[in-house]
Point group: C2
Chain length 316, copies 2
């Protein structure tokens, strides 16, 4: 059976998989991106993992193309350009490197753009023509579908909603700007909010015993579900900012829905409900009551469905 090899590069983990035309994942692997090491180290580990995976799924299921989703990937050049959360330098020619190694066509897209294609082809976006995917992970990525197609923009760089401004005097962002949305509404963002609240609040909290490096989104979600006041406040503040900025996105695009994906979306209703309320409160009258917000129902390894959809889009 024909398959594609899908690669999703995140700030923390890289996921690879072999995927058929219907979005069935025949095999997958995950490894740490170790984003502070040089690109050469990453490439070596990626190739090792791909070789193992291809051996695993067998010669009957050989990939005919490769799709890559990565932060700040430029679909026109095949390069990863100035990624704020990867220490790989200005331009990383990842498509060329992978294509050379495997002698297959390689298609590359911004990770969140790939996610949006994955939702459109295999996920909640099936049948929708206008929606926005927000991936709330290490950073905040976004992919915009307009009239059933990925919005690319003039330089194929559309959809960097993580870098809209929340507060000109706000938190410093890895991108060099100040007050970017992803410094508030992402796993890293809610961690920063937790630490701000630890500095402000008096209440006991299990989160006070965890270092910033060790703290995970799951820790915060677990504490919130157990009723921890500090964690709940952190989700409320995150949702307030995210909901307000989603209303701004609606004022640009008038979408049918948002699909929230990535680590922070796993928190479920603790995030979803206040996000919906805050978006609705801030919507311009023409949009009120019209825009839906979903949590991506994709399983954890489904991040590779985005790059898979990207590859299938080109070879089918």
């Amino acid at each position: 059976m024909n398959t594609v090899l899908a690669i999703d590069i995140g700030g923390t983990f890289t996921k690879i998989g072999v995927v058929d035309k219907k979005g069935e994942i025949l095999g997958s692997k995950v490894f740490g991106t170790r984003s502070k090491k040089p690109f050469a180290n990453f490439l070596k580990e990626l190739v090792l993992n791909i070789n193992e995976l291809i051996a695993l799924v067998g010669t009957d299921n050989k990939p005919i193309a490769i799709g890559i989703g990565a932060p700040n990937a430029n679909s026109l050049t095949g390069n990863i350009e100035n990624p704020p959360n990867l220490n790989w330098g200005k331009e990383t020619p990842i498509a060329a490197e992978i294509s050379k190694t495997y002698n297959l066509p390689v298609y590359i897209a911004n990770d969140a753009n790939a996610s949006a294609l994955g939702e459109l082809e295999f996920g909640l976006g099936q049948g929708m023509r206008n929606f926005v995917v927000l991936t709330l992970g290490t950073g905040l990525g976004s992919g915009i579908i307009v009239n059933g197609e990925l919005l690319l923009g003039e330089h194929a760089q559309a959809g960097e909603i993580g870098h809209v401004n929340v507060d000109p005097h706000g938190r410093y962002c890895n991108c060099g700007l100040q007050g970017c949305l992803e410094t508030y509404a992402s796993v890293t963002g809610i961690k920063r909010t937790v630490f701000e609240l630890i500095s402000e609040m008096r209440e006991d909290s299990p989160l006070r015993s965890i270092s910033f490096e060790d703290l995970t989104g799951e820790d915060i979600a677990k504490a919130a579900i157990e009723g921890d006041a500090l964690a709940l406040r952190a989700f409320d503040l995150t949702a307030e900012i995210l909901g307000r900025k989603m209303a701004d996105t609606v004022a640009h695009l008038d979408p049918e829905a948002f699909i929230l994906a990535g680590g922070l979306s796993k928190a479920g209703d603790i995030l979803l409900k206040p996000v919906k309320d805050n978006m609705e409160k801030n919507l311009f009258v023409a949009y009120k009551g019209k825009v839906k917000v979903y949590l991506s129902n994709a399983p954890r390894n489904a991040a590779i469905l985005g790059p898979a959809a990207l590859a299938w889009k080109h070879v089918s």
Copy 2:
């Protein structure tokens, strides 16, 4: 010769014109919208003016279709819906009324969407595929061109950038929200800024002798050009906010350019230069140095070229 009748309804003035296929305006008229009176009064005055104009251009140049640009016009329903700057109620069936009167096909669009079509067809947008028009008038309207087509969105209401949020605790907007961009970056917005500055600053200024009702954008521009510190500060504050929010728009759409139109854009470089600087400063790294900002070079009565382009799009 075949022509179309174009109607541009603004919060302050309504402009009508008879326009040929090349964008030549064969005749035009302007009258006060008197937005606080009921719609019936407006309709009566509109029909009177149209009849005079059609008589003026002669039976050789009879319109074969009508295009209307109006605030909060819905191209799907033909209605004007909840316009914050017109006191006409929830739904005004303007397309149906005009079609009934003249027995011609009527096409309607949000005024700023129509402007974007006008720039695309007859103006600075010729040859561009991705750009954003911001009309800085009584309010702030916007029209977004993506891949050479007007961005409509799921409910044909895309492009209400005037209602993105600048400050959740900011100025009250006619739309019911607080802190909307148009309360800062529009003719009305800069008037509000002038009055805020009068309350704060000590410097003499010719603007101190003008009431809010009487103050015009031209007064402020004239004072700024003559070096008035208060007026200059008002333009700087306006540009700071507008430039910052334009960077947010870029982070959604990755356009080639912005085209600034409407009353406030007539101020020229006093507005353009700081807007460009502030946008550039706030751009995410992927966009820096790539996005142009133009002032619409359309003559004052060119507002009707938008609705004209809309009508021609359908009948040609």
